[in-house]
């Protein structure tokens, strides 16, 4: 693959800049069915125009390596493009197809040059490689922006899923929902301890109604939380242990010794009121 044939490819692209766009748009009308499901025609035309502009700019630098500095503008453009498409629900395949659809137009234009067969083949091969690289780059950056979205959602979920609620003067409730792993336990623990400091609560109720399974690891996490709260001067009550979970725990040999456990949140609250010395009474 000589760089000479690459230079010729770039020259051909630069020379045919205008017809490349119109031909490509023409071709997109026929082969773009898959893409059109997700993106509107006007959007495709706009993007095709912009993409060709940055592509032509990069071709002027005459550097075949798309990871080099000459291609920075093209790469930046593709990154923002895929980010927007990833948000608006365009699939990675559709985004890649958009780039690959330029191949046909490119090959047609090269064929029109009427070069010798071997030279023409070489240039087509180069164009093919170039478009493949760009297509792969689109898929990679698409994946990356999707991963960013997932990471951000995980973080948000972590913050959303660990509320600490002051239910009465001196009583905190910590309703846990979902599986408890080490990372979540750490957040739960820190939130709980900080709330204890802020509210000066003597009792914290940890409600595990929404925890699907309690294995040895989860139990250990819970006991750690209870121990840390005790060190700060707060008594913990664990509530919401369902019958199946109680059975599994006993089979596993997991016990919450030294911790008050109640079946329901109501029982725990009643116990907490009792401990603090409140009486709930029906109006006479």
């Amino acid at each position: 693959m000589s760089s000479e044939s690459f230079q010729m490819l770039f020259d051909i692209i630069l020379k045919n800049e205008k017809s490349l766009l119109s031909d490509w748009l023409e071709n997109l009308k026929n082969i773009g069915k898959e893409i059109k499901k997700a993106i509107s025609t006007s959007e495709i035309e706009k993007r095709a125009n912009e993409f060709l502009n940055v592509l032509v700019d990069a071709c002027k630098q005459k550097n075949p390596d798309i990871h080099s500095k000459s291609w920075e503008g093209t790469r930046d453009y593709l990154i923002t493009l895929t980010k927007e498409w990833a948000f608006s629900g365009v699939s990675s395949g559709q985004a890649a197809r958009f780039v690959f659809s330029l191949k046909q137009t490119l090959f047609q234009i090269i064929a029109k040059e009427k070069l010798s067969e071997s030279l023409s083949n070489e240039i087509i091969w180069n164009a093919n490689n170039l478009m493949d690289e760009l297509g792969l780059f689109v898929v990679e950056s698409y994946q990356k922006s999707r991963e960013d979205v997932i990471k951000r959602q995980q973080q948000e979920l972590l913050e959303l899923s660990t509320p600490v609620v002051k239910i009465w003067n001196g009583i905190l409730i910590l309703p846990l929902i979902g599986t408890l792993d080490s990372a979540r336990t750490q957040v739960v623990l820190e939130n709980l301890l900080q709330s204890i400091v802020d509210t000066e609560s003597q009792i914290a109720i940890i409600d595990i109604t929404g925890v699907p399974t309690v294995d040895t690891l989860v139990a250990q996490h819970l006991l750690k939380t209870v121990a840390a709260a005790r060190l700060m001067g707060t008594q913990c009550i664990i509530s919401g242990i369902r019958p199946q979970i109680a059975q599994t725990m006993v089979h596993l040999g997991v016990t919450f010794s030294d911790v008050v456990t109640k079946a329901t949140l109501a029982d725990a609250l009643y116990f907490a009121f009792n401990t603090i010395g409140f009486v709930v009474q029906k109006k006479a």
């Binding site: 001196g170 820190e190 301890l193 000066e200 003597q202 121990a227 060190l231 700060m232 001067g233």
Partner: protein
């Protein structure tokens, strides 16, 4: 020789730790507390660690040791005002601190000591003003 001041309040001893602890200082504190419990005939010891930001395994263990020693000498120990970070550290170190009673602040600590010394259960009522 550095000392941490120990104040006598009624039947109780009040220890406020306001400096960073190091090993020799905590050994000295243990020694001082034991002697003062005997000398003042104290029924309870209140250790305020709300200014303590860093604990290591030795200081954490010494809290437990001091509590066990005072219990042997007939006085209960209450540790108050532990910071969240300190509590997490002690739990992660796997220290049990079984003889240590805890409370949120000095106020509640004294109420707890009183109920412990008066025998019987902890009266949480007395916490409420």
């Amino acid at each position: 020789m550095e000392h941490i001041p120990i104040l006598k309040v009624g039947n109780f001893l009040l220890v406020t730790i306001q400096v960073d602890m190091h090993d020799r200082l905590v050994m000295q504190l243990q020694d001082d507390i034991c002697q003062r419990v005997i000398k003042d005939k104290a029924k309870g010891v209140l250790i305020d660690i709300s200014s303590l930001e860093v604990v290591d395994s030795f200081i954490g263990r010494m809290l437990g040791t001091i509590a066990t020693m005072t219990k042997t000498l007939g006085a209960e120990t209450v540790v108050v005002g532990m910071r969240p970070a300190v509590a997490i550290t002690i739990v992660e170190l796997g220290l049990k601190l079984e003889n240590v009673h805890t409370a949120l602040n000095v106020d509640k600590g004294i109420a707890l000591l009183q109920s412990l010394v008066n025998g019987g259960e902890v009266l949480y009522d007395s916490f409420e003003k």
